[in-house]
Structure formats: C-alpha cells, structure tokens
C-alpha cells in the first residue's frame, strides 16, 4: 500500500499541465473526465487504480442506508453498437460498510452517490461520509428500474426539493443531482434542484428500456426492464444537457454514451462543464480517461483555446 501511495504522490506532482483542469461546483478537478456512477465503483483499490489511469473524479455506485443485494443475473445485457441495458437493482454494501471502505482514501477525488426513498434516508448516510476525504455527493434521483427509489423520487418535484434541501442542510460539501428521462419535464426537476440549493446537475441517467430473446420469448434482464446506456442515448443526453444549461443556472455534468474525445467536445459545446464515462470502459477499460483527455487537449490546442471553460456552452451562441 505504501508503494501505491508513493506512486500516487509521484503522479500528483507530475501534473503541471492545467489546460484541462476545471472547477465545477467548487470541486477542483485535474481534468473533466469522471467515472459515472454504477461502474467499477465500490472498492478503494479500484479507485486508486482509476486515479493512476488519470480519472478526473470518481462517482461511486449509488449507496443506500442499508445494504442492497440487487437483482439476480442477468443484470447487464450488451446490445449492438456500443450500448448496454442494465438492471443491477442498486446493489451496494450500504453506507456503513462503504464509508469504512473509503475511510483511508489517500487523495483520490471521490464523489459519493447516494440513493434513498425519502429525504429521511440521507442525513444518517451523510453523517457517515461527511468527515471522510471525499469531494462531495451525487444524489441519484433517476434510477429507472427500482421501485420507490430513484426515478419515483425524481419524478416528483416536491420530493426533489425536500431531498436536496435536507442533504444541503446536513453538509457543506457540493451536492450534485443526477437526473434522467422520467414522466415529468426534466427542466422542472432541474429547476427544483436549483431552487433547493443543489450545486450541479448530472444529465442523464439511463433510459427505461428492454430487450427480449426471440428464441425463448423471455425478457433477458431478470428485472425485465432496465436502463439503456451507451452510444444509443448520446443524442438524447446532448439535448438534455443543452436544454438544462440553457434554462437552469447550475453547471451541468454530461453523461450518456461518451466514447471519444469528439463526444466529450460535443457535450461541452452543448453546455457540459464536465463529463462522465461509463459504457466506454466495457470497450477499452481504464485507458478511456487518458485517451479522451489527450484528444480534448489536442482539440483545444488546435482551436487556440487556453482552457476548457472556453468551450462550455458555445453551441448556445447559435
């Protein structure tokens, strides 16, 4: 472990280049690439490895007050063309165990994703995490396939207001709200989050979807319905980021089918201040963060831009 610490520290000192560094909602990141919630996210050892792979920040799997077993397999289905369908069922070790998992976090930038079925669920969790070495929180208000948790909260502006206000009143750390396509106007939810004091919006979560095996006639996911992620959702996510950043004052973190630096640029032009990667990891593993950062850097150089912020929301000019 000590060796690992040395490696990390060495790495940290090596970073002179500030072209890609950003400050979003008060969080200082060396680059705008985050690990999206739900991917790779419960082990400190993996977090350290991600840090060495140049991740800008890590959003943990969504943590609940009690441990959740999640659904029986299949929980992940690979679809054609770089898309996935998943219904993991918010499986997680619970706030207590996870807070101990990351208790000795050296200096990996971790954002803890929290999920709950009512605002009361959050304060006890925050108490467990707030003194740890973490950047802030992401509230998952948009899990599309677990009853009473996630989207059912995210579809109710009043619930959103309550949850965000509660969380904000229990921490001084930045609070990001993750939204998705539910049964209400996304902008109403984003506005509610803003009015309640959220510091940023992550858009978007997976989209409710399904696939059926044609030989057996049986839905493949054990939960039948799950969330669609990957390349398929990108144009929808771009639209959501564009509309939110146009109508709500909060910084937006773009998420949905980002596989290349070109995708990252497109999200930033649409208004994203940072981006989250997930599905792409299934294709190229931990290397995705470094490669996309390199592409972003070259793009900025080619366009003669000094900093990423010059790029954010440019598309709104037209």
């Amino acid at each position: 472990m000590l060796e690992m610490y040395k490696r990390l520290r060495g790495k940290r000192q090596r970073e002179h280049d500030r072209t890609l560094s950003i400050n979003i909602a008060g969080m200082e990141l060396r680059n705008p690439t985050m690990l999206a919630s739900g991917f790779l996210g419960i082990s400190q050892a993996i977090f350290n490895r991600l840090y060495n792979a140049d991740v800008g920040a890590i959003v943990s799997k969504s943590i609940s007050s009690k441990p959740i077993e999640g659904y029986r397999n299949p929980t992940v289905v690979c679809l054609e063309g770089g898309s996935y369908l998943n219904a993991v069922g918010l499986a997680n070790p619970g706030a207590d165990v996870f807070s101990r998992e990351i208790a000795s976090n050296p200096y990996v930038p971790i954002i803890v994703s929290l999920v709950g079925s009512s605002h009361d669920d959050f304060p006890p969790m925050i108490n467990k995490f707030d003194d740890l070495n973490i950047l802030g929180y992401e509230i998952n208000l948009s899990c599309p396939h677990v009853a009473k948790m996630g989207m059912e909260v995210g579809d109710d502006p009043d619930m959103v207001t309550k949850v965000v206000k509660t969380v904000k009143s229990h921490t001084l750390k930045p609070v990001v709200v993750k939204v998705g396509l539910g049964n209400v106007d996304l902008l109403d939810i984003a506005r509610a989050a803003n009015d309640a004091g959220a510091n940023a919006i992550t858009a978007i979560n997976t989209i409710r979807a399904m696939t059926i095996n044609i030989e057996s006639g049986i839905p493949v996911l054990s939960n039948k319905i799950g969330g669609l992620s990957g390349k398929s959702v990108k144009p929808v996510a771009i639209r959501c980021v564009y509309e939110i950043s146009k109508n709500v004052a909060l910084p937006v973190i773009g998420c949905g089918g980002i596989f290349s630096w070109e995708d990252a640029v497109e999200f930033m032009l649409a208004g994203a201040s940072a981006i989250q990667l997930g599905s792409v990891i299934g294709y190229e593993g931990f290397g995705a963060f470094q490669r996309i950062c390199l592409g972003l850097k070259r793009y900025l150089d080619r366009k003669g831009m000094k900093n990423l912020t010059e790029l954010v929301g440019l598309a709104h000019k037209y």
Binding site: I42, A45, I46, R49, N73, V76, G282
Partner: protein, 273 residues
Amino acid sequence: MPININILRSVFIERVQNETASVKTILFKDKVSSKAEPGQFLMVWIPGVEELPMSVMVADKEHSAAITIRRKGIGSTALFNKRIGEMLGIRGPYGNNFKIAPSARTVLLVGGGTGLVPLIRLAAKLNETRICCTLIIGASSKREVFFENTADAVLSDTKHKIIVSTENGDYGIKGNATDAMTQVLKQETFDTVYTCGPELMMKKVLDIASAYSLPIQASLERHMKCGIGICASCCIEDKLVCKDGTVFCEKQLSKMNEFGIFYRDKTGRKIVY
C-alpha cells in the same frame, strides 16, 4: 462481418452427460466458444432464471463447446435440469487464460471439483504440444470423483499421470488435493503449477508452490455480473477477475491480501472464507 461476442447467442443443448449424482456436462454447438482458451469463461443465461459465469469445458465435437455444472443454487439447479434440445443464451468467451511457457517440459495440474474444467481444457492443449502432465484430482469421496477418464483421454498423446485424492480415502490417496501435491513434489519437480478449485485450496497450492519456488497460475472465481469489466463486482484488490483474470500468476497472487482471505458478496461486502 465479425461476430460481437458480447451479444447473447442462442444455443441448443446437443448432449448431456452425468459426471456424478450432482454434476453434469452440457454440450452445445458454438463455433466461437469452441476456440476458447483454457481458463476463459462464458456467461451462460438460463432463460428466465439466472445468468452464470462458466469455465469452458472441452467438447469432443467440432464447432462445439461444453460447460460442467454442479447442482447448487437456483440457477445451477435449473441448468442441471436442462434437457437435450433446450435453449441457453451465451456470451463470451471472456477473460485471459492459462499460459504455457515454450520451455515447459513437465507441468503439475491441481484441481478440485468443477475447478477441474479449465484444467481439462488446458490438458487437451498440453497434449497437443506433448508436455508431460501430472494431474491431481481432489474430491471428498469416490462418488464425487469425475473427469478421471476424460483427463486420461485428452492426455492420450503425451506422457501423463493422473492422481486422485479423496478426503475419506475410499479412493486414491487419502487426504485433499494439496496433501497429494506435497507428496508428489517430494519425488519430482515441475516447470509450472496450474490450479483451479476452491480458493482456500488454491491458496494452499500457492503456498506449497512458493515453498518449492515453482511458478504458478491460478484461475480465480468471484461473484460476477457483467463479465466485461464494467461492474467490478468480481474485483479482488484492484484487479477484475473477469477482465484481468481469471488467471493470475504467483507475482500477482502474492500481492493480493484478499486472496484466500475473503470475497465480496452480491452487495459488495467483504465476506471472510
């Protein structure tokens, strides 16, 4: 156009073979799986029930592969009860595999239970390159021993020895696989030790091999969901068994404080063995 191994493929069971009262081998036609390397696994969907990671077993039929199941949980029992003609969904093969050093002349294989599957597939490959092979099959009792004849068949072209150990001693050497391993190592040495089975057994195999400073390759098992390295439910330390494994060498294993100590359950909590 090249097949995307991640997309579920519907296959139909062509043969079912009883290995023991609670273990069966299921054979099906699938060109991609037939080329799987020893140690690689398939994600096998039992429609409407469960999806399980299963090491690819040898099949004595062209363009075919097999899987070997022990009846245990809901999923494995449903799979165990499948009949000829019934459908399974598969994706993969996934993961890395057992490596054979060009210099290797004699190797030792130590397996327990269904952990023998990748070792049998490895044996078939060793047989091609005529590498002398000693296989230790560990079981609780005679009635739990399987793959003895299969192993003998796949190794027919090379010098080989098959040693069976049973804990109750009603067949072969009395004791478990690692006891047998210790005995064998007293008489002869090997270029590499390959192992797959219960993690505590593999841990013991690692310790013994290290004592004799023998290189070792172990195929690990962890709770798996995606099989493609995105969910990390199969993580051990900072490694993903589905992507960085399933096979790890002594260098990696000795760095893993978790190896043989605990695994993570479906929630991600660490459970001590």
